[in-house]
């Protein structure tokens, strides 16, 4: 290969002294250099475009339109028998109370026809019912009083305030009619309707309405999975790497293991999902959609990454350290646990974080094991159904409503934020503990 290449140059050299050619050669040099800059520019421009698109679509998801309404918690409706029975509280029509409070805030007449009632109701999120009920259940002594409560606005109102609904569209094709627009403007002018920090994005579970759906289930699910990966993949990965690097004899079998690990690192992640479905769910009978299964699949997937990183870290510890330890009478295992592993620790940590980052962003294998689920209740153990952050992004991305596009981009920002923090931690660890031997 090299010999052919050089002979090409020799052939070329006979023409090198031609001054007429020099200009074109310099021009081609400049062009070639420009190609490199353009290539780099394209990649970086795409990166910038991606971040711009996500952030411009998603920053508004961190704000949510809410009404501050004075709700009269009517004892006749909530607790007619006066027994303070919590199960009875669930039967009351809280939406009616919210509607009454809203109509008062707009100064509408007491007597309303059906169309007006419907228009009013459409301005409120369907979740207000639960919001008021939760307030009552949390403090039953409020019954009979008028209390100020922040209530969610409907998704369309939220979109209007964020400028996603065009007011110039003819009324019959617009999500909100003229009367509703007027009301919303009045409420916004009176500061009854405000955009506030959207804590619901982090505390709600799944919902069919964008305004009351949140990432809580996904965050908890991802947390359990990361915990499983950290508890399983790190010890197994470090042990495997230590064996291969320090003990394994050079034999056919260690070669097989080596090639195997390198190949596993490049197996498409979706294949790990098939493995999880066939082995953990169908064969071992573990529950579908549970974060423990997701954690196991991700463990197998990140194991090669952690093994490869740990081996590099162990290799970077100079042999003199080992020889010194062995020289004063330590056994090989003692050398490993007392000297080599502690010195390789920063490198192992960095590799572990890289593996966790990969696991946190992975979606495809989780789809296979049924993590695409509509989970409303926040899971408390790793065997309950849950979703994961990237899976939640996938589920929202496939919903049609405009409000969900915003939520999806918001969730993406949250995911990227986590990844950024973890990567920054890895870089920090590397800088802080990096050792030149």
């Amino acid at each position: 290969m090299t010999i052919e290449a050089t002979s090409g140059i020799e052939h070329h050299a006979s023409r090198l002294n031609d001054p007429a050619k020099l200009k074109t050669r310099y021009a081609s040099e400049a062009r070639f250099r420009a190609y490199g800059i353009i290539a780099l520019g394209i990649a970086l421009a795409f990166l910038a475009g991606l971040f711009f698109s996500i952030i411009s679509n998603g920053w508004s998801a961190f704000l949510q339109s809410e009404y501050r309404l004075d709700i009269y918690l009517d004892p006749a409706e909530i607790d007619p028998e006066g027994k303070r029975d919590v199960t009875r509280f669930g039967l009351a029509d809280y939406t009616k109370m919210a509607r009454a409070a809203l109509s008062k805030a707009i100064d509408l007449p007491e007597k309303q026809d059906r169309a007006m009632k419907r228009d009013l109701k459409e301005l409120l999120s369907r979740a207000v019912d639960v919001q008021i009920r939760d307030t009552v259940v949390a403090d039953p002594s409020l019954i009979g009083k008028t209390v100020p409560i922040w209530l969610l606005a409907a998704g369309d109102v939220d979109s209007l305030l964020k400028g996603a609904i065009d007011r110039n569209v003819p009324e019959e094709r617009r999500q909100l009619n003229n009367r509703q627009l007027q009301w919303v403007d009045k409420l916004a002018a009176d500061s009854v309707l405000q955009k506030r920090f959207n804590s619901g994005l982090f505390t709600f579970g799944a919902s069919s309405q964008p305004e009351s759906s949140g990432l809580a289930v996904a965050l908890i699910g991802s947390f359990f999975m990361m915990l499983t990966v950290a508890l399983l993949a790190v010890p197994i990965g470090v042990a495997a790497a230590a064996y291969l690097e320090e003990f394994a004899p050079k034999s056919f079998w260690t070669d097989v293991i080596e090639v195997n690990i390198n190949n596993l690192a490049a197996v498409p992640s979706i294949v790990f999902g098939l493995l999880g479905l066939a082995v953990f769910i169908n064969f071992a009978g573990l529950p579908r959609s549970a974060s423990i299964v997701g954690g196991l699949v991700l463990t197998l997937m990140t194991l090669p990454t952690i093994i490869i990183a740990t081996r590099a870290a162990i290799r970077a510890v100079p042999p003199s350290i080992r020889e010194a330890a062995l020289g004063v009478g330590a056994s090989k295992i003692q050398t490993l646990f007392h000297h080599t592993l502690p010195l390789a620790f920063p490198g192992i940590m960095t590799g572990t974080i890289v593996g966790l980052v990969q696991a946190l962003g992975e979606t495809a294998p989780l789809l296979m094991i049924g993590m695409v689920a509509f989970v409303v209740d926040i899971p408390t153990t790793a065997t309950e159904p849950a979703t994961a952050l990237p899976v939640q992004i996938y589920m929202w991305a496939t919903s049609a409503e405009r409000g969900f596009v915003e939520r999806t981009a918001g969730a993406t920002i949250v995911l990227l934020g986590f990844l950024f923090v973890m990567n920054a931690a890895a870089v920090y660890l590397r800088r802080k503990f990096e050792r030149k031997w």
Partner: protein
């Protein structure tokens, strides 16, 4: 009795063994006048291992064997007509028995009485169902009498099995404890024992990787064989129509068409577009960074390119879906081209950007590894920098670069989330890059999400597709790693 309780008890005894053994070893030392073979701590670990490992092994065996034995037991209990039902109905009944037996512990005496009467035919079964429902145990339909009988048997058998296990574990733990404590004496080679066990643990950990590969191959292969019992090989490998239909319950549903070719074509087409973006951009970026760029540019550009590799693929998919696809469609409309919002082009380009770092960072390493003497020889003959790159460096680095490109291709073929969101779901055999196509990975996802019967070809086909994917990517990886390794040896 639960496994977790048993394991916890074993751990507690092991901790006690650790402490007792250390105390014994101290005593044997006689204030330092006797020289021990190992340091004191090793005697503690010695006892802890003897107490813990055999018991944990026993529990593990139980976890594997118990379900098999119990399911045998239930099946023997069921009437003959059960065996004439089809697989789906059978698994439904077995599931029902499992649910009832778990619910039995929640029932009060009155509830149990109702259940007993219903089983013997004195009360309707719907009442038994209601009793269970009050405790939060929901059954799809009223159970048959024999199901309740089997459930009671199952519960009793399980309780017995756990009692026996607890007894056996107790014996093993005590035996290990007694043996290890009594064998502690100054000449006991405790460290050697502990180190042998540790080394065994390290070896076991490195075998996990092998087991994973084996698990992938066997599980996928097994289901694929199952699939080919229902659908012919030629239907799958030579079919040009992908139309699996939905599986109607019990019909067997083998009338769908499972042609691999449109999916394979879609996969290759999108990967080709991706490589058409990633190879020139990645290669030129790598050349620029390793040959031209100043240290400052390098320090900024290299991590920035690596960020591209760190972004989760679902984010790329979402970007292609909401921004890039519509943008391409609008651009196309401006020049009179009809580009679908989900098309080969948009999925391919976005995927190409994703794999740029795979091409660039490996190529960068490879180009930097070309010996400086080759460059200097070329400059000495009067060649410009670009001529040196084109005629010396790239040809010298070519095998490595090809390896990098093959690795990138394998990434592109196995990529899922970008194509799921941005490539479409219709299986088209088309040459038009402006139309949507679908890929192998997309179909694996769509055949396996949602509630499906596991024995239907509609579900099993996902495993056949997975095996195809695994083999293609494995072949690419093995070949690429071989080339890269061979190339590295060349200049070492």
């Amino acid at each position: 009795m639960k496994y977790s309780a048993i394991v916890l008890a074993v751990l507690v005894v092991a901790a006690i063994a650790f402490v007792v053994a250390i105390a014994r070893a101290r005593a044997a030392q006689q204030g330092g006048s006797v020289k021990m073979h190992s340091r004191i701590g090793y005697y503690g670990w010695y006892a802890a291992i003897w107490t813990l490992l055999p018991a944990l092994f026993l529990v593990f065996v139980w976890v594997v064997v118990e379900p098999i034995g119990l399911s045998r037991l239930i099946r023997a209990e069921l009437p003959d007509n059960f065996h004439t039902l089809n697989a789906a109905q059978r698994s439904l009944i077995v599931g029902q028995i499992e649910t009832i037996s778990e619910g039995l512990s929640l029932l009060d005496p009155a509830g149990l009485d109702t259940l007993k009467k219903a089983r013997l035919g004195f009360k309707p079964m719907s009442e038994a169902q209601q009793v269970l429902k009050d405790q939060g145990i929901v059954l799809g339909s009223a159970p048959e009498g024999y199901a309740v009988t089997a459930a009671v048997k199952l519960r009793d058998a399980r309780e017995w099995s756990r009692m026996i296990l607890a007894g056996l574990v107790g014996l093993v733990v005590l035996a290990g404890f007694a043996y290890s404590i009594s064998s502690i004496r100054p000449r006991l080679r405790a460290r050697n024992f502990v180190e042998r066990v540790t080394l065994g643990g390290l070896i076991a950990a490195s075998l996990v990787a092998i087991l994973t590969t084996l698990g992938i191959v066997l599980s996928v292969l097994f289901e694929t064989i199952h699939f080919f019992k229902l659908v012919s090989l030629s239907n799958f490998f030579l079919g040009t129509v992908w139309d699996p239909r939905f599986s109607a319950a019990g019909s067997g549903g083998a009338e769908g068409q499972f042609g691999l070719l449109p999916l394979l074509w879609g996969t290759l087409f999108i990967s080709f577009v991706a490589l058409a973006v990633a190879v020139p951009v990645g290669l030129f970026a790598a050349i620029y960074m390793s040959e031209y760029a100043s240290q400052r540019v390098r320090n900024f550009a290299k991590p920035a390119l690596e960020v591209l590799a760190g972004i989760p693929t679902i984010v790329y998919g979402f970007f292609a879906l909401i921004t890039f696809g519509p943008m391409l469609r609008d651009l196309g409309a401006m020049v009179g081209l009809n580009i679908a919002a989900t098309s080969v082009l948009s999925a391919g380009i976005v995927m190409g950007v994703m794999i740029i770092p795979f091409v660039s960072s490996l190529s960068d390493d490879i180009i930097s590894a070309v010996p400086q003497s080759l460059r200097e020889g070329s400059y000495g003959l009067g060649a410009t920098q670009s001529e040196t790159i084109k005629r010396v460096i790239v040809p010298a680095a070519l095998p490595g670069i090809v390896g990098a490109i093959l690795l990138a291709a394998s990434r592109a073929i196995g990529e899922t989330m970008i194509v799921v969101l941005a490539a479409g779901i219709a299986a088209n055999l088309t040459l038009n890059p402006f139309e949507p196509v679908t890929t192998i990975t997309v179909k694996i996802v769509s055949q396996l999400t949602g509630d499906l019967e596991f024995d239907s070809p509609q579900t099993l086909v996902a495993f056949a597709l997975g095996l195809t994917l695994f083999i293609i990517t494995l072949a690419l990886n093995v070949y690429a790693l071989y080339i890269v390794r061979k190339y590295r040896e060349q200049y070492e």
